[in-house]
Symmetry: C2
Subunit: 270 residues, 2 copies
Amino acid sequence: MRFNDKLRLAWKKNNSLVCVGLDPDLSRLPAGMAQQRESIFEFNKTIIDATHDVVCAYKPQIAYFSAYSAEEQLEQTIQYIKTHYPDIPVILDSKRGDIGSTAQKYAVEAFERYQADAVTINPYMGFDSAEPFLNYQDRGVILLCRTSNRGAGDIQDLIVDGVPLYERVADLVANQWNKHNNCLLVVGATWPEQMAKIRNIVGDMPFLVPGAGAQGGDVEQLVKAGKTADGTGLIVNSSRGVLYASNGPDFVEAARNEVIKLRDLINQFR
Amino acid sequence: MRFNDKLRLAWKKNNSLVCVGLDPDLSRLPAGMAQQRESIFEFNKTIIDATHDVVCAYKPQIAYFSAYSAEEQLEQTIQYIKTHYPDIPVILDSKRGDIGSTAQKYAVEAFERYQADAVTINPYMGFDSAEPFLNYQDRGVILLCRTSNRGAGDIQDLIVDGVPLYERVADLVANQWNKHNNCLLVVGATWPEQMAKIRNIVGDMPFLVPGAGAQGGDVEQLVKAGKTADGTGLIVNSSRGVLYASNGPDFVEAARNEVIKLRDLINQFR
């Protein structure tokens, strides 16, 4: 099944636009869980079991695994989702970007080794750096457009032919790179005004939206700015706000409650 | 020792601006070497032993390891260089780019897990995505500026305030991001004209130059365009042209000869 179809079914099935970001930080694991590599899969599994019916996607962030030499835990985590909750798409957040033969190896990493349904990539190196990913036509390729961080504007807001670079990237992706209809964009929750402009440029292309949780984007504004006509179009990610909602023995319940709270808040404005 | 000092000593010691890129492709290993993950370290070790006195750096490209689940072979490779040839800096080519806490994990991956002397990163997400790397003041941070591939211009050549984006990136890095004097730039060998302009903007900042080998950049032009007043300033990378110079039993000699040929060609024009 193509990624965008899988995503659409997950949005509908769980009536949710919430994606849980799996950013396992050993120093922030719940009390009682050993701060060691082996805990990572166990922690992720617990979070996944507690939230699988209220999310539209999971997004493991690969840096949180590779910093701990925990590639095996990442493999186990994705395998677990695919085995137990096969309707929920997995987005590998790795923001890779390189040329031809190297990009091909990164595509193998994401789509064959880790079996991700979609991957985030960086557009700075141009079309031929995206092409090896795009050629996996049943997978999603999520290009950075306007990110949620403080310094996002340093490069992304520079004015090109009268419009900010991120609008130009959105235009390039929508009108030139999306030949197989498998592109998505990263558009930060912290910039609803920019999100509305990008929505205008790209039609119904889905957005992966970081920054709604810990980074504090306003949910009402972002949903109104980014939703498509049918009230979807958004994968609203929360990582730390969910994973570390509580450090105590109630962490599972607290994580689930955070997801439900965010889901319901989003659904008010769809 | 700071990265730029280590690099300067290596340039001098081996009278070489050549960097060997370690892109181990299992399907291209020499005849007689098993096409399996375990061969990767053995192959790299052989290449390193054959070239350590004629290079200024090694540059393992992480995608060629992660596609094969060969993180351990990458660790072994870097460890081998640091143990046996500690004067030769190791550049981890991973082109990472993410924000705050995630960028911090990527910096841990590059500088602590793999113990790289320098790392390549992508500037698209802005200063705060580079900062966690820059804070390792003894390590080098090599930012993508003008890459060597066909599609490089799709984004990098867009005109911002009358100059191409890559010049703006060079200016930002040289004048705002380089507070600890540990920034370098990626400037492709295939664009000598652009390289000369960038050299003009950034003074003596070293360039990592891909594309001189398999991608076919002209060596005379690139050296003249990119060298600093003292005849250095360049880390000229060749990967496939060296690693796969021969597929036969003479592959070690062939690899060494390719490096020497490129070194001597460069030195003619320094």
